[in-house]
């Protein structure tokens, strides 16, 4: 005879647990925190060992062509320095105009640098970073890379955090076309790309247009670059057109990110 009592008990217990969690979403946090605090240090140490090993490999094997590369880098640095000084001048002028027009300051926030210690691609679309609650990271903190928006913190552990990337199918980011100023919602397509949902079909969007965060959701600051339009799809029905974006950030090569703190909503 099959032992139904235990199974029925487990099913009822799970159902009770699900009902309680639907009323209080924070109920599962202690369990996930416990498992995360056990597993993520292992991810951290493994990541460090791999980085150490690969750095030895890089140091000895990739020495060929370093001098040539160094010369090219110096030229590139000179060019960037010149460009930087020009941009600083423009920034001063822009800030002056902004204060004159009483605009909200863009990029008025502080950042906490973090190292990426784990990248989970596949259907997960998340990364693990080496900053946690001890460093002041809280849930829903926006995370950016050098080239644009990365995602938001979804789970915070003691010394690490899990970041949901904008590539995840469940992510929603309010964005704006920097040229036409039309709004939309960026979602991950679940296959490593992103697209804009709810985009006005009458808007004159063209390939190459840049999308930036709109700041409307109050979750991400305004003006963070997302990507460039790579494909526009217009169907015969519906109010919206589908805009596919090629994101600026290379999520498969993420090494360092910045957690945004204290931004002006």
């Amino acid at each position: 005879m099959f032992k139904w009592q235990r199974i029925v008990f487990v099913i009822f217990f799970c159902l009770l647990l699900i009902i309680l969690q639907s009323r209080n979403k924070e109920l599962s946090t202690p369990f996930k925190g416990l498992v995360g605090n056990v597993l993520n240090p292992l991810v951290y140490f493994t990541s460090n060992i791999i980085s150490f090993t690969s750095s030895i490999w890089d140091s000895y094997v990739h020495l060929i062509g370093v001098q040539e590369e160094n010369e090219e880098m110096k030229k590139e640095l000179d060019r960037i320095n010149l460009e930087n000084s020009l941009l600083r001048e423009r920034l001063i002028v822009t800030e002056h105009l902004e204060s004159f027009l009483k605009f909200n300051k863009v990029f008025d926030f502080s950042t906490v640098p973090a190292n990426v210690i784990g990248i989970g691609d596949g259907f997960l679309k998340s990364i693990i970073i080496d900053r946690g609650s001890i460093d002041g990271v809280v849930k829903n903190d926006p995370v950016i890379g050098f080239n644009g928006l990365v995602g938001k913190v979804t789970d915070v552990y003691l010394k690490s955090s899990k970041v949901e990337l904008i590539l995840a199918a469940s992510s929603n980011v309010s964005v704006i076309n920097s040229k036409t100023r039309a709004f939309g919602i960026v979602r991950g397509d679940g296959a490593g790309g992103v697209w804009v949902d709810f985009y006005d079909r009458l808007d004159n969007v063209s390939i190459g247009d840049n999308f930036i965060t709109s700041g409307l959701g109050k979750l991400f600051p305004k003006g963070i670059p997302i990507g460039q339009v790579s494909e526009i799809e217009i169907s015969n029905k519906g109010l919206f057109k589908k805009v596919t974006i090629k994101q600026f950030e290379d999520f498969y090569k993420l090494e360092n990110v910045f957690i945004i703190k204290d931004f002006k909503e």
Partner: protein, 159 residues
């Protein structure tokens, strides 16, 4: 002597499963990120399928379900229920057809995979409006990979 007692602990099916799952988690986030493209929890479940009986169903469902809940950041309990029902369906199949031959075992594994993919398509469909993409992703990626892994494993058993 202590080393031998530690090895005995590792021989425990539940502990070895937890260690395997943790190892897959760590490896998928570091060395072999491509592992996370394969749903290793489901692959391990297929390998442990024969060990699941009326005495062990609750323990295995709890381990697989809780780990899967943690991994996909869902509410705790949903995937425990899923693995309990999946194991119950497996029992029903074993009663109806004595799954001793390789072919029947593959049919049984395919059945489990079909249910798992249907569940995933439903769950993913709730958060994405592109059903076709979800369908193609799961069938083309997961389904074929599981089939190949399981087929190789069964052939290895025969050899």
């Amino acid at each position: 002597m202590k080393t031998f007692s530690s090895l005995k602990i590792l021989k425990n099916d539940y502990i070895s499963l937890v260690i395997l799952l943790s190892l897959c988690y760590v490896v998928s986030y570091t060395t072999f990120a491509s592992i996370s493209r394969v749903n290793y929890i489901m692959v391990l479940y297929l390998f442990y399928m024969d060990k699941i009986n009326e005495d062990t169903i609750v323990q295995y469902s709890l381990i697989f379900g809780l780990f899967y809940d943690f991994l996909i950041d869902s509410m705790i309990g949903i995937n425990i229920l899923f693995f309990v029902f999946l194991s119950l369906i497996k029992f029903r199949f074993d009663i109806l057809i004595s799954a001793n031959s390789i072919l029947l075992k593959i049919v049984r594994a395919l059945g489990a995979l079909f249910i798992f993919n249907a569940y995933n398509i439903f769950a993913m469909g709730l958060v994405s409006n592109d059903y076709i993409l979800v369908l193609v992703t799961f069938i083309m990626r997961d389904f074929i990979i599981y089939l190949i892994i399981y087929y190789i494993a069964e052939l290895m058993d025969v050899v």
